[in-house]
Subunit: 361 residues, 2 copies
């Protein structure tokens, strides 16, 4: 039998087993074509049907209105960090950002190449352990940018900040896209590297409201314009066919288990298991995020000493609970409970953490 | 038994069967990790070992000297069309291009966003049926750019143009990388979308001489700088892990069969089979490229009428010879004989073309 472990990596991360099995099954012969999906021309009718299916699944699962385009791009969220200002910055109107951690900072850094940036709120004062409240964006901002979930610090936006009329809200949802039901209409642009919650590394989902496609200056290199990719249904050039195909298989699985409302319920249950253990541990496990800002996706916590933290990671590994070491900015441990992490996996982690506490406190 | 056809698509294209089988075999459990290679963190030691192996294979197979960096980037050659000028344009020094077809034109278009461009030679006068001779680049050019092989028109550089001392030669080798032995030292930068000759879509190989990494202006967005990717061994952000892994498997196969010298011999034999049929057909098959510019990779030819061309494509398809329709810029037919196309596949195509001629001339 194939060995499988529980994989808590922050991304690339665990994928749904049925999606992997399907990919394995049809790897040499995609739907009787006698070719792998990797070998099919991106201009072939079989590839095109798959491509459209993938986009249709995104639209259906997220309830994306017709006036939004769905793009499959390359380069990760790191590329969108410059494509957002490149496509949306308007001279004389500042770009406004909320700084909730390392990824926000990187986004802010790239925006500065394109004009004036205001950081309107930040949680840096407390090592990004919370999501700022009462965020105010200016009326004349080019756009308002937030990081939906902070993988490193384990915080997540649970309500969306208000934005002035005509200021589009832009959200990096790389680590929490489809983790819960959202109202897409609140956003101008949503972008997400696929490798945490919807598929493998190598493709970036961008959902953009059509009226925002025409702000980009004419003298911008072609590949940097969302507009071009929107007009060509992400087939202006050769798209990352396999990564899109894997997203399709993962999203098909999500649809089969009841879609985003169903996974939201499971995600809340999964997160509660671990947060309850933290809260009931008399301080043995200490959560990094303040309770109202806690992420459903990445649970960050410390143990009494770095030695115990290292021991816990190591013993976890022996029990086939992989990828629990925290990021150096927070230290300690991090359990990433993305959509593809099963309830069973989280229960196994929970048992382990309870036992580890008993044996080591 | 799994159905497999002969796939002559221009890219994404056929891949070596042993590479696909290996990928299938370890899809659910990569080397006993209990995870797919798609699920491994790009910061894990297992992924890192694979990543270094892939780069090592490129270096070994192409004989790349130590003062060149090997980058695995995203966005295809289309992204390099702007990254080349972005990283190499020097104010007051024109960027110089040879125009040998559609891909050269696209590269030229993007360079114009970064400064003055000279097109120093072109074969547009004869619908790109030849590679210009006696190409002269200026002494003060920022760089000299050529398209190594022209997928659409079926022409290929067989000798490299001379460039003045201190002018780096840049080559888009997307459709002929590793098709024959080359002297990498002649080039400043070589770039190639993987999906034709070395792997699947979703990753772009860039080989760049170290001294060229420091020309890029400081105020350039981070992801656009080769330098950053070089410093971080292409792990500045999450890399397209699966696509790099597939390249590794394909290159391993290439190494196993004797490397580039061996595949060059096979490629010359494969191309000769089809070109001989064209030349011996008394004009039934008419090659688009002039004989001295003929591509080893993409063979473009026409039949006496568009009706016969359509019939030939259709009958080929019935014999499981897929992807033979030519690009609209040339019409007719195109057989792409990349490294992964077997001699057996080309012999089968050859037999079919001989029979088709006998039955239809």
């Amino acid at each position: 039998m194939t060995k499988r472990v529980y994989n808590f990596y922050p991304g690339p991360a665990t994928l749904p087993l049925p999606a992997l099995k399907k990919a394995q099954e049809e790897l040499l012969d995609y739907k009787g074509t006698g070719m792998s999906i990797m070998e099919l021309s991106h201009r072939s009718k079989q590839y095109d049907a798959m491509h459209k299916e993938a986009s249709g699944l995104v639209r259906g699962l997220m309830g994306i209105p017709d006036d939004y385009k769905i793009l499959w791009l390359q380069g990760g969220a790191s590329t969108q960090f410059f494509m957002v200002p490149c496509n949306l910055a308007v001279k004389g109107k500042p770009m406004e950002y909320v700084n909730t951690g390392a990824w926000s900072k990187k986004a802010i850094k790239e925006a500065k190449f394109y004009g004036d940036v205001n950081v309107v709120a930040s949680s840096e004062d407390k090592n990004f352990s919370y999501i700022p409240k009462d965020i105010k964006f200016s009326n004349n901002a080019s756009y308002a940018h937030i990081t939906g979930n902070n993988t490193i610090f384990g915080t997540e936006f649970h309500t969306w900040p208000n934005v002035p009329k005509d200021v589009p809200l832009i959200c990096d949802m790389s680590s929490n896209i489809m983790d819960k039901v959202i109202d897409v209409k609140k956003f101008g642009v949503i972008y997400a590297g696929a490798q945490k919650n919807i598929g493998p590394a190598g493709v970036t989902l961008v959902v953009v409201r059509e009226d925002l496609l025409n702000i980009v200056p004419e003298n911008t290199p072609t590949m940097q314009k969302w507009k071009i990719h929107a007009e060509k249904d992400s087939l202006f050039n050769t798209c990352p066919c396999w990564a899109i195909y894997m997203c399709k298989l993962c999203l098909e699985h999500l649809k089969n288990i009841g879609g985003v409302p169903a996974i939201e319920k499971i995600n809340r249950k999964k997160a509660k298991i671990i947060y309850d253990i933290i809260d009931d541990s008399n301080g043995f496990y200490k959560g990094h995020a303040t309770p109202d800002s806690r992420s459903l996706m990445n649970i960050t916590f410390n143990l009494p000493t770095p030695e115990l933290e290292a021991k816990c990671v190591e013993e976890g590994q022996k029990r086939e609970l992989i990828g629990l070491k925290g990021h150096r900015s927070v230290g300690g441990m991090r359990a990433s409970l993305y959509n593809a992490m099963t309830l069973e996996g989280v229960e196994t982690l929970g048992e382990f953490l309870r036992e580890f506490k008993e044996e080591n406190e």
